[in-house]
């Protein structure tokens, strides 16, 4: 099983190395840029607000990067199989679920460098900055959150990519139906807000995308 995983990891690395490298560089750079020049000790009381503003602005890039990495890595994991109409996979002496599991696991391994880059970049940025009194840095919490977001995004897009065109059609159909019902309800002046309901289910509490919501702050009070 291990040589099989190594072979799949190797092939997946060849297909997605550019994504992994660029993602790693971006993940390393964002925390450093977010604290760039904003935390010198000689800037007095004015700096705290500016610093938080800069950190918050840059913070929007973490969920975007996590989503992009998850999406591209999932597409890269399945694109050659789709192109080859799964013939290579069919020739392997493997059950379907084992094959998918190996691909899934290989993707996680390839997503580890960007996650580590966020941790290292954040720690480095915090160590080299002088934070105003009262502000605290959260590099580990940020890296953990980034890791969870990347995993969720990768899992969602991996599942969609692994499915058939029929499955994708059903998913899109459900979304279209929801939008249609919302439009009809609005026209008929019915008090029905499916968008808000969907937002609540997806983004709040234990929803699948809850990890993406809220502020992503490397430094906060």
């Amino acid at each position: 099983m291990r040589p099989m995983f190594r072979a799949i990891l190797h092939s997946q690395w060849k297909w997605s190395r550019l994504i992994a490298v660029v993602g790693t560089v971006a993940a390393f750079a964002i925390p450093l840029l977010s604290l760039q020049g904003a935390a010198r000790a000689d800037r007095g009381a004015l700096q705290a607000q500016e610093l938080l503003r800069a950190v918050q602005s840059w913070g929007t890039l973490y969920p975007l990067l996590a989503t992009a990495l998850g999406l591209l890595m999932a597409i890269a994991a399945w694109a050659p199989d789709h192109r080859g109409r799964h013939i290579h996979a069919l020739t392997l002496p493997l059950a379907r679920w084992r094959y998918v599991l190996l691909r899934f696991g290989a993707g996680f391994v390839l997503l580890a460098p960007p996650i580590a880059a966020v941790l290292i970049g954040s720690s480095l940025a915090v160590l080299t900055a002088t934070l105003p009194p009262g502000l605290q840095a959260y590099p580990i919490a940020l890296a953990m959150r980034f890791a969870l977001a990347v995993f969720v995004a990768y899992a969602v897009f991996f599942a969609v990519s692994a499915g058939t065109a029929r499955t994708a059609g059903i998913v899109l159909g459900v979304i279209a139906a929801l939008i249609l019902v919302q439009v009809v309800a609005s026209i008929a002046s019915i008090d029905l807000n499916l968008v808000n309901a969907a937002q609540t289910v997806l983004l709040l509490g234990p929803g699948p995308l809850a990890v993406f919501s809220g502020r992503w702050m490397l430094v906060d009070v």
């Binding site: 007095g44 009381a45 004015l46 705290a48 607000q49 938080l52 199989d81 109409r85 799964h86 996979a89 069919l90 379907r96 679920w97 094959y99 998918v100 599991l101 899934f104 105003p132 009194p133 009262g134 502000l135 605290q136 959260y138 919490a141 953990m144 959150r145 969870l148 977001a149 995993f151 969720v152 990768y154 899992a155 969602v156 991996f158 599942a159 692994a162 499915g163 058939t164 499955t167 234990p206 929803g207 699948p208 809850a210 990890v211 809220g214 502020r215 992503w216 702050m217 906060d220 009070v221």
Partner: protein, 362 residues
């Protein structure tokens, strides 16, 4: 003859100015008396009109009494009594023994149809409320509209807001903590780091001279304030040149501009929530009669009034206030443990969906 005439004329001319001045003064006095009389008449008429309007607004209304609360309302399904029973302990805990004076300040409410298309009688007394509010909302209305007994203008000016029960005290304290850390003022930073004199400066509790330098200690803070918050205000007229010099980092120009602002318009480094919290701390420390002591002497300096209300030295009160703020540090923006577990769970679920995919069978 001509000499005699000249003397007579001279005397009459010399005598006439005091006489005419005297008559002018008398005329002006009469006019001012007349104006005062007219103003008093107008005042009386306004009082009568208010009284009549009050009678009209409260005609056919009931008075609900719970503790010291008196609520004059028209018949409606609104749960006034339950809301008052919830609100009274909160109000009583803030004003203490002074809450017994609240019957002097009755609420006047008028329940109206929530449908804005329905025509309503125009009233100038009381507050209109839709009759479909629940107990929680009505309680909130009672708490946020209660009139603080004997709340004098000096205290109101210093506080910058009304003294009412807090709906969310933890959030209020956390907001002050955030101000502590982020306010663009070295004085606030000093207070955060434990310099009580700086805390008294930013709370305006001690000497009020040189407030610009006390609140905004460094030249960069003063320049940022002038060019940021007051950039447009000073950009035209005689102050434009000074603004230009201020922008060239001339601190004397920046300071002069800030000192030229009308009294009370210099932005406070800490918003009113900080002062409100200080008053609440004083009332909490001083027991049930604390509010009475706070409003007992409106002419006394605010620091003395707060100290008297709390029954402790003003420095000790400020230390207590600072400790309360520091203890209210907001929770960090880390994910709760269950959110992490949820994310891992969703990853597993989507992974399982992928394992079950049917592409293999194509």
């Amino acid at each position: 003859m001509s000499n005699t005439l000249a003397v007579v004329l001279s005397i009459s001319v010399l005598a006439s100015p005091p006489h005419s001045q005297d008559s002018l003064m008398a005329r002006l006095r009469r006019q001012s008396d007349s104006l005062l009389g007219t103003w008093r008449d107008a005042q009386r008429l306004a009082d009568v009109a208010d009284s009549l309007e009050r009678v009209r607004a409260t005609a056919g209304s009931d008075t609900i009494a719970v503790g010291g609360l008196r609520i004059i309302v028209n018949p409606s399904p609104l749960p006034w009594r339950q809301a008052a029973e919830r609100a009274w302990p909160v109000i009583d805990s803030l004003y203490g023994s002074a809450a017994a004076d609240l019957p002097r300040y009755p609420y006047v409410f008028r329940a109206v149809d929530p449908d804005s298309g329905v025509r309503r009688a125009v009233l100038h007394v009381g507050v209109e409320l839709p009759w479909d509010l629940d107990v929680r909302a009505v309680t909130t209305v009672l708490l946020t509209t209660v009139t603080a007994p004997d709340f004098d203008p000096a205290l109101a000016d210093w506080l910058g807001t009304a003294l009412r029960p807090s709906l969310r005290p933890e959030i209020e304290r956390a907001a002050v903590f955030v101000q502590f850390v982020t306010a663009p003022s070295q004085a606030v930073r000093g207070c955060f780091l434990g310099v009580i004199a700086r805390c008294k400066d930013v709370l305006q509790l001690g000497d009020s001279t040189g407030v610009v330098a006390r609140w905004y200690v460094t030249p960069s803070e003063r320049e940022a304030l002038v060019t940021g918050a007051f950039g447009d205000y000073f950009a035209s007229g005689t102050t434009a040149l000074s603004l230009q010099r201020c922008r060239q980092h001339r601190d004397d120009a920046c300071t002069a501009l800030l000192q030229s602002l009308p009294p009370g318009s210099l932005p406070r480094p800490l918003a009113h929530a900080a002062r409100l919290l200080l008053v609440r701390e004083a009332l909490r420390a001083g027991g049930r009669d604390a509010y009475r002591r706070l409003v007992a002497n409106p002419r006394a300096p605010i620091a003395d009034r707060l100290s008297s209300a709390a029954g402790i030295d003003i420095d000790a009160l400020v230390v207590r206030w600072r400790n309360a703020v520091l203890a209210a540090r907001p929770a960090p923006l880390t994910l709760p443990w269950w959110a992490g577990l949820a994310a891992i769970g969703w990853t597993a679920i989507f992974g399982f969906c992928a394992l079950r995919s049917s592409r293999w069978r194509l």
